[in-house]
């Protein structure tokens, strides 16, 4: 059973390697992640211009999280496996790992959003590990160590962004409801 699992993971890695995704995938993932916020922003009765600005900020923070993750992965790869530090080449090779992010818009669903978000992020992490194995021939156990710090850092950034959004949403909504209720 473990051998079967390892074999299927390896074939998944090869499949990811064969995916020539390009920049379009990143654009799609970014759009999907921003769209998942759109519904929460609607709760605050923001104007289209304000919503657009919020989504730009979201996109910037998500890009930052992605860059930090890539940089961290490259550093870890250099430290543990001696692979020369080439973040852009690395990002090009790892791009396909992001495809589950296309479904991130589903995190807009009520209540199960956390579960969906965590599942998709974990899936992306697994894809990165598989690609590390397929491209750099890093064993799965080592790839877990290589990919974990960057993933945790990126996750922290995304988590902070989302938590901040919720706090802002609460504050705005509380103000609106207080304003609506009779004195």
């Amino acid at each position: 059973m473990p051998d079967q699992l390892l074999a299927s993971l390896e074939s998944m890695g090869q499949l990811l390697l064969a995916m020539d995704t390009g920049v379009g995938l990143m654009f799609g993932v970014g759009l999907s992640m921003s769209a998942s916020h759109l519904f929460a922003l609607l709760a605050n009765r923001l104007t289209p211009r304000q919503i657009f600005l919020h989504m730009i900020v979201d996109a910037l923070v998500l890009s930052l999280a992605f860059m930090v993750g890539i940089l961290c992965h490259s550093l870890m790869l250099m430290l543990l496996e001696g692979v020369p530090l080439q973040p852009i080449t690395f990002a090009n090779r790892m791009g396909a790992a992001m495809w589950p992010g296309l479904f991130y818009v589903l995190a807009a669903a009520p209540y199960v959003s956390d579960l969906i978000a965590v599942t998709l992020l974990a899936w992306i992490h697994l894809n990165v590990m598989l690609l590390l194995q397929a491209v750099y021939d890093v064993p799965l156990q080592t790839s877990l160590v290589v990919a974990l710090p960057g993933f945790v850092l990126a996750l922290l950034l995304v988590g902070l962004l989302f938590a901040q959004r919720w706090r802002t949403s609460y504050a705005m909504l509380a103000r609106e409801v207080s304003g609506l209720t009779p004195p």
């Binding site: 709760a43 009520p110 409801v177 209720t181």
Partner: protein, 375 residues
């Protein structure tokens, strides 16, 4: 007698015969082809059916079904959120102006001081309650004091005053579904109907407990309850308190709306849940009294604690646990009571015990301090 000679007649009939023979031949060929295709199809179906029963195929099928289910649930959830937001954003005539509530300053003939508002479980599809619930409410009505009014028939899972039949965008679907149930009241149709209603209401419970969308949904429901109270003669300066009694998912709706309702109605609001399934995410800061009537054999309420991890003691900083540190939660455990059916809270076996627990809580909390100033 007029006619052609026999040789001429035979010559005239020949082409017809030939055509008929040709048609018959083609028909036989077509039938043979259809039979062969049918046989091949049957073989393929049998082979596919055999393949389908292989563990790998079953696993793949389950994976696909699971994926489709996740996507469908998420999409329906988003749709449900959007329907709530339509009013919040001011479309479809928006929400009623809350500043017009209780504006009639004159005293009304209604001399009730306490208002018990009942919010039903996720089986609710219209304002009227099922017979078993109606009997329970009748029993509760008889047991509460004369200065207490029981308000029933509030649809807790819609924003408008009507039931699912009159919802804004999906009304046509519910109308057809309920019509189907009325015309074909068999077990399958009843099951589909109950499944759809409960799925819709579970999603509403999910929205109410969601940190992003919950406040909007809860505000809309609180406004609906306040308008209903206004229509039956509730006046803030005459009333003493509002008690929200929520069964099952109605418990979440009650906890979610309590604080906003307190702001809208300007009287103390307390919550009593019966077999409540709730997240504890709702804002309860200024709500003093929350009581739970629980059954010792209630698997749904127990499952609710897992589905809503914020209520587990493992997360001390959760909203619910923070509230519990500053307030005392009253628990009334009824031995042997389950979630629904013959051993549920509305059954003849446990109805009395539940009513008694509610009355005890009403008496206990009557002496609670008055409304604290909301934020």
């Amino acid at each position: 007698m007029t006619g052609l000679p026999s040789s001429d007649t035979a010559a005239a009939v020949q082409p017809q015969r030939r055509r008929l023979r040709r048609v018959r031949r083609w028909l036989v060929v077509v039938l043979v082809c259809v039979a062969m295709l049918g046989l091949l199809g049957l073989t393929a179906v049998r082979r596919d059916a055999a393949l389908l029963l292989q563990p790998e195929s079953l696993l793949e099928l389950m994976t696909w079904l699971g994926s489709v289910l996740v996507v469908v649930v998420a999409l329906v959830g988003v749709y449900s959120v959007m329907v709530d937001f339509v009013f919040w954003e001011g479309w479809m005539n928006g929400l009623p102006d809350p500043s017009r509530l209780f504006t009639d300053g004159s005293d009304t003939s209604d001399r009730h001081q306490h208002y018990v508002v009942y919010l039903d479980g996720i089986h609710q599809s219209e304002e009227s309650h099922p017979p078993r619930v109606s009997d329970f409410l009748g029993c509760l009505q008889e047991s509460i004091a004369d200065d207490t009014l029981l308000v029933k028939g509030i649809e807790a899972y819609t924003i408008t005053n009507d039931g699912l039949r009159a919802t804004t965008f999906a009304g046509w679907f519910w109308q057809r579904l309920f019509a189907l149930q009325e015309h074909h009241p068999n077990a399958v149709v009843r099951f589909i109907c109950a499944f759809c209603v409960q799925a819709n209401n579970v999603i509403k419970v999910g929205i109410s407990s969601d940190r992003r969308y919950g406040p909007v949904m809860n505000y809309e429901l609180a406004l609906k309850i306040a308008r209903r109270l206004d229509s039956i003669g509730f006046r803030p300066h005459q009333a003493s308190r509002i008690v929200l009694v929520g069964y099952s998912g109605g418990g979440e709706m009650a906890i979610g709306t309590a604080e906003i309702l307190q702001q809208l109605c300007r009287v103390r609001v307390q919550v009593i849940t019966i077999c409540g399934v709730f997240s504890g995410n709702g804002e309860l800061e200024s709500v003093n009294d929350v009581a739970m009537v629980v059954g010792s054999h209630d698997p749904v309420a127990a499952l609710g604690r897992i589905a809503y991890p914020g209520r587990l003691s493992l997360l001390p900083l959760s909203n619910w646990n923070c509230w519990q540190r500053h307030h005392s939660l009253q628990r009334y455990t009824i031995e042997g009571m389950s979630h629904n059916g013959a051993s549920g809270p509305f059954s003849t076996a446990f109805r009395g015990a539940v009513v008694q627990a509610i009355c005890r809580e009403l008496e206990r909390s009557e002496l609670s301090p008055p409304l604290r100033t909301p934020r």
